[in-house]
């Protein structure tokens, strides 16, 4: 593989590593969907995870958070096994993964982001409510704070999830397709938010489906298709060859890739 992936893991000082994945293999019903994943992600990076449907992007995120049993390998977050450092991880799931008829308000959902810091038997305090309101304001959802969540549009639901992740005040974020179903203006607002988080030293791992914008949004790209095809700075990784091997020469996507690469040159 010509990829610059993990060429110098040793070159990153241990204190500057946010996420480290070693030889991770995950299987559903004995059928592996992720195979020997090795990753060393530096702190303070905005990383795009790109790959075709079924490449294992969501699976990688879930396995990295310890939500799925793994067949082999390990994951460390800020130098500790992931289960000891869960409170430093924020999570934006794929929107379809929850029941939006659930009897809670927008505010309730954002407050859930604070639960990790509260501990057993504690109720959210006024400070938690203030924080939740601040996070809702950042995603322009404050006017909807008291809405029942089923009365939201898809893009608004996505923003509620983002506000909840912000309220978690984590250092490493996993976001599964945060741009799905949002309009152009919201997408721009979310990208700004991601950059702001990055500038505060947070690391963000974001699953993204649109190749042309992936190139401009992210510092680093992880090209994934069951294995790590490539992982590195966007300008090194976003090449025709690597994208071809990620997407396996599928026609419609290939023309898109060619288009995107041409635009880059």
């Amino acid at each position: 593989m010509s990829a610059p992936e993990n060429k110098h893991p040793a070159a990153i000082a241990p204190a500057d590593i946010s996420l480290e994945v070693h030889d991770l293999t995950v299987a559903y019903h004995k059928k592996p969907v992720l195979w020997g994943i090795d990753l060393v992600v530096p702190r303070g990076k905005l990383v795009g995870i790109v790959g075709p449907n079924g490449a294992g992007k969501s699976t990688l995120i879930k396995a990295a958070m310890g939500l799925l049993p793994v067949s082999s390998g390990w994951v460390k977050v800020f130098g500790e096994p992931v289960k000891d450092n869960l409170t430093r991880i924020g999570y934006v799931p794929q929107r379809e993964s929850v029941d939006w008829d659930f009897p809670v308000s927008v505010m309730d959902v954002v407050l859930m982001g604070r639960y990790g810091k509260l501990g057993l038997l504690k109720r959210p305090t006024k400070a938690d409510h203030d924080k939740a309101r601040e996070c809702l304001d950042k995603v322009k959802m404050l006017p909807y704070a008291n809405r029942q969540i089923s009365n939201l549009s898809g893009g608004q639901q996505q923003r509620v999830f983002l506000a909840r992740a912000l309220a978690q005040e984590s250092d490493l974020y996993f976001m599964d397709e945060p741009f799905s179903g949002v309009d152009a203006a919201t997408e721009v607002a979310i990208v700004e938010l991601l950059h702001e988080l990055k500038s505060r030293g947070k690391t963000l791992m974001v699953v993204h489906h649109d190749l042309p914008t992936a190139r401009s949004y992210f510092d680093m790209l992880l090209l994934l298709n069951m294995r790590v095809v490539a992982f590195g700075p966007t300008n090194e990784v976003f090449t025709n060859d690597l994208l071809q091997s990620t997407y396996g020469g599928r026609l419609t996507i290939m023309s898109e890739v060619a288009e995107a690469v041409r635009a880059k040159d």
Binding site: L86, D99, P103, V109, M112
Partner: protein, 321 residues
């Protein structure tokens, strides 16, 4: 006709139970309320997790638990029966999870497989055992307890003072504990029901919460149905929560409405049972169902009537503006 619908004697049906008959009917209503409240509170979370039928499953699959407890302890003591039933309830939950997680069978089918197989096992155990010594144990005594007999149970005496029939006192403790547990672990229950993945990322053990909820469900179901019968338990795991779902979109409000539903169906059910001279448990379920249907039809925000008005009357107004 007269034989089918008894005459309506206001004094006998509405006044007497609160005056001369209070010693009896007070306990029946209280027991009905406590069972309905405890079941309803837990049931809200079952509905949210789309597991409403687990209660049904557990109430059938306790049978082998009772049989095994009987065989091991050689007695029908309440403690042995309770422990046996509780163990069976937990085995059911684990079995459902195993089938559902480790195969491609969906959860509803897994529930069906788990409880029917355990129930069948219970029937076989009882048959085998009853054949040998004419044992006094059958599924009847488990599934068809009768709430009308509750006032006749021996009272709990502490320091010469009577605190009421044993099943009522036991149920009061269970109902109070249910309310307290929900209050203490509200946020863990909420987040693990809404988004288990987030719960895990918050350091909340969603699996543990799941098993804790199911074990507590077993406690509630088992302590209730020996004295009131399975029908009241199974129905009240779903009816109060379902009614509350129609009336509110806020979980705390729904839990409050659940208690209200419990109180109203217990009282209405008792009057209905007096009128029709039928089982109070069955009548309470009917009353609870009537409450559910009323909420469905008359709910001011999106009840059937309201929807009818929307389509017939309000639309032209919107178009005109």
């Amino acid at each position: 006709m007269n034989a089918l619908i008894p005459s309506f004697d206001f004094q006998r049906i509405f006044i007497a139970p609160w005056t001369s008959g209070f010693e009896t009917f007070g306990w029946i209503v209280l027991m009905g309320f406590l069972v309905t409240a405890a079941c309803g509170l837990v049931g809200n979370f079952l509905i949210l997790r789309r597991m409403s039928l687990v209660g049904d499953a557990i109430s059938h699959s306790v049978l082998p638990g009772l049989a095994v407890a009987f065989i091991l302890s050689q007695s029908r003591s309440t403690t042995a029966m309770f422990l046996g039933a509780l163990a069976a309830g937990i085995v059911t939950t684990v079995l459902i999870e195993l089938i559902h997680r480790k195969s491609r069978v969906k959860q509803d089918a897994a529930i069906g497989i788990a409880f029917t197989s355990l129930f069948a096992l219970g029937v076989i155990l009882i048959n085998l055992y009853a054949g040998k010594g004419g044992v006094d144990l059958d599924q009847e005594c488990v599934l068809y307890g009768e709430i009308a007999f509750v006032p006749l149970e021996p009272p709990v005496m502490i320091g010469g003072q009577s605190f009421g029939p044993t099943p009522v006192v036991r149920m009061a403790l269970v109902a109070a504990a249910t309310a307290l547990l929900i209050a203490f672990f509200y946020k863990e229950l909420l987040v693990s029901s809404f988004d288990p993945a987030l719960a895990v990322s918050l350091g909340i053990n969603a699996t543990l919460i799941h098993y804790a909820l199911m074990s507590w469900l077993s406690v509630v179901v088992v302590s209730a149905f020996e004295s009131v019968g399975a029908i009241l338990v199974i129905a009240m795991l779903i009816l109060p929560g379902a009614t509350a779902t129609l009336l509110s979109h806020r979980l705390p409000v729904m839990l409050g409405l659940t208690l209200l539903h419990a109180a109203v169906s217990a009282v209405l059910g008792m009057h209905l049972a007096l009128w029709l001279d039928c089982s109070p448990a069955g009548a309470m379920v009917v009353a609870g169902t009537v409450l559910f249907k009323s909420a469905w039809i008359f709910n001011p925000t999106d009840g059937l009537l309201r929807r009818w008005f929307w389509t017939r009357l309000e639309k032209p107004v919107i178009e005109a503006t």
